[in-house]
């Protein structure tokens, strides 16, 4: 831990330039809950740290009529505690509350979490269900990507060496929208989830399913959006049977993680049950949401 260079860039472009210059030897640091852990255990030995916390205006929660934008350096705790997020995006508030523990939530950031590409984390499933997109900056410009396209494998994202996630945007909810997130951990509350499932339902004026988005996280090498299962529900009147069928279909093609925390079989069974409950809860919330 002796000879590590440190940079505190004052702009995104400066940070991207440094990442490009130092290549594989450089690591961007956001909250540090992952990187410093890996450095403590000598798993990661970066030559240079690029401190993203010195860049101004990356830590924001901005509401507009059409969306909420979350800066990449916004902490999980800020999302959890934001009264407006709780009011307009209850699923995000509840999901953020389940992440790890208060100290880690004070330190860890949304952008850092997404950029890590870890399977067993909470934000991707909930964000996917809300149709969230990330804005990615590099020396060459910016691009926008749906969250479901970001993580490509275990601890792998489509980010290039000099690219940084700078914000995440979530479109505002249409009337009669309800969303819910459930996670399950086979050990203590603050441990990483063995599964995390999210559902966002939009009802039409006859309380049929107008649109549904599902997000499955922590169960496979990448977060999953089970589109075929979504198709089963679209346009239909919602019943317990339909919810059951949708939950079963959602897991049908998934290559479930099999590890020390849970077997693939157990994960699959728990995912189906949690998804049933989550869709039901999203439906109840959609029914009771304001129709203006």
């Amino acid at each position: 831990m002796n000879e590590i260079g440190y940079f505190g860039p004052k702009s995104i472009s400066e940070a991207c330039r440094l990442l490009a210059k130092y290549g594989d030897e450089a690591r961007a640091i956001a909250g540090g809950t992952v990187l410093v852990l890996l450095m403590n255990k000598r798993i990661s030995r970066p030559g240079y740290l690029i401190d993203l916390a010195t860049i101004p205006n990356l830590e924001f929660i901005k509401f507009s009529d059409t969306a909420v934008r979350l800066g990449a350096l916004v902490s999980h705790r800020a999302i959890e505690k934001s009264a407006l997020i709780r009011e307009k995006y209850l699923i995000l508030s509840e999901m953020a509350h389940t992440i790890a523990n208060p100290q880690i939530r004070n330190m860890g950031t949304l952008g850092g979490c997404l950029a890590y590409g870890e399977a067993a984390c909470d934000p991707p499933a909930a964000l996917i269900s809300l149709g969230a997109k990330v804005k990615i900056a590099s020396s060459g410009g910016e691009r926008v990507l749906p969250v479901e396209d970001l993580i490509t494998g275990f601890y792998e994202t489509c980010l290039k060496q000099d690219e940084l996630i700078v914000e995440c945007a979530i479109p505002s909810a249409a009337p009669r929208t309800g969303a819910a997130y459930r996670r399950y951990s086979s050990t203590v509350m603050e441990d990483k989830p063995i599964l995390g499932v999210a559902a966002r339902l939009i009802l039409d004026s006859h309380e049929r399913c107008y649109d549904i988005r599902l997000g499955l996280g922590a169960i496979a090498s990448t977060p999953i959006r089970p589109r075929k299962a979504e198709e089963l529900m679209k346009g239909k009147k919602i019943s317990d049977d339909l919810i059951d069928e949708t939950a079963e279909r959602a897991v049908a093609d998934v290559d479930f993680i099999d590890d020390i925390k849970a077997s693939a079989e157990y994960r699959k069974a728990m995912t189906i049950e949690c998804l049933r409950q989550t869709i039901r809860e999203a439906y109840q919330r959609a029914r009771s949401s304001q129709t203006t």
């Binding site: 002796n2 852990l37 403590n40 740290l49 916390a53």
Partner: protein
């Protein structure tokens, strides 16, 4: 029993005095073998300003314990799971084992040594932990105290569930947590009058 409690309180006061309170400047951090990678950082710890030279990889935990002699904060898992290293930065509870000192320019740190009042009287949390026997070996206790402080600072009358949720990031091997929860509940009921002295809420 009363005299052993008094003795315990006296020992708590003794250990709370910072070893570095009289040190005006500090030698360079001993692992900064390559001078170009050690940077001067100014930060405030328990109300006192420190100017330190730190290597990039120097964690706040190591700074506190090994460079400044503030051994109240404990080293344990080094992976952010156990909470023994919990301190407050600008009032927010964080894990100092996962915090790099070099990023803390201008920050205000509070450790367990900073809980005790200037007149030597115990903070309500410390009083309550003593009275409720909220510790056995005491190794996890500084972490629990600092996390509890954040809980009570943001939520002065928490429910038992809120306390339990607030403490999920701290692990105790000895007590089974029961007395810790009682202690935080009891602390929330101790009223503090403006002068900074504490009264028990009878």
């Amino acid at each position: 029993m009363k005299s052993s409690f008094t003795g315990l309180v006296q020992r708590l006061r003794q250990f709370s005095r910072s070893a570095a309170q009289d040190a005006p400047t500090l030698p360079p951090a001993h692992d900064a073998v390559t001078a170009e990678f050690a940077r001067p950082i100014t930060l405030t710890i328990n109300g006192e300003v420190f100017r330190v030279n730190v290597a990039t990889g120097r964690t706040l935990l190591d700074l506190l314990r090994y460079d400044l002699g503030l051994t109240g904060t404990k080293e344990n898992c080094r992976m952010g799971s156990c909470g023994a290293c919990t301190v407050l930065i600008d009032g927010r509870a964080i894990k100092s084992c996962l915090t790099l000192t070099i990023r803390l320019q201008g920050k205000h740190i509070q450790t367990v040594e900073g809980l005790i009042n200037k007149d030597g009287s115990l903070d309500p949390l410390q009083q309550a932990f003593v009275q409720q026997a909220g510790f056995q070996c005491g190794y996890c206790t500084p972490g629990f105290l600092m996390m509890s402080k954040e809980i009570l600072d943001t939520n002065p009358s928490p429910s038992e569930d809120e306390i339990r949720e607030g403490l999920v990031g701290n692990i105790c091997r000895c007590t089974g947590y029961g007395q810790i929860i009682e202690a935080v509940l009891a602390a929330s009921r101790i009223q503090v009058v403006p002068e900074g002295k504490s009264l028990k809420d009878e």
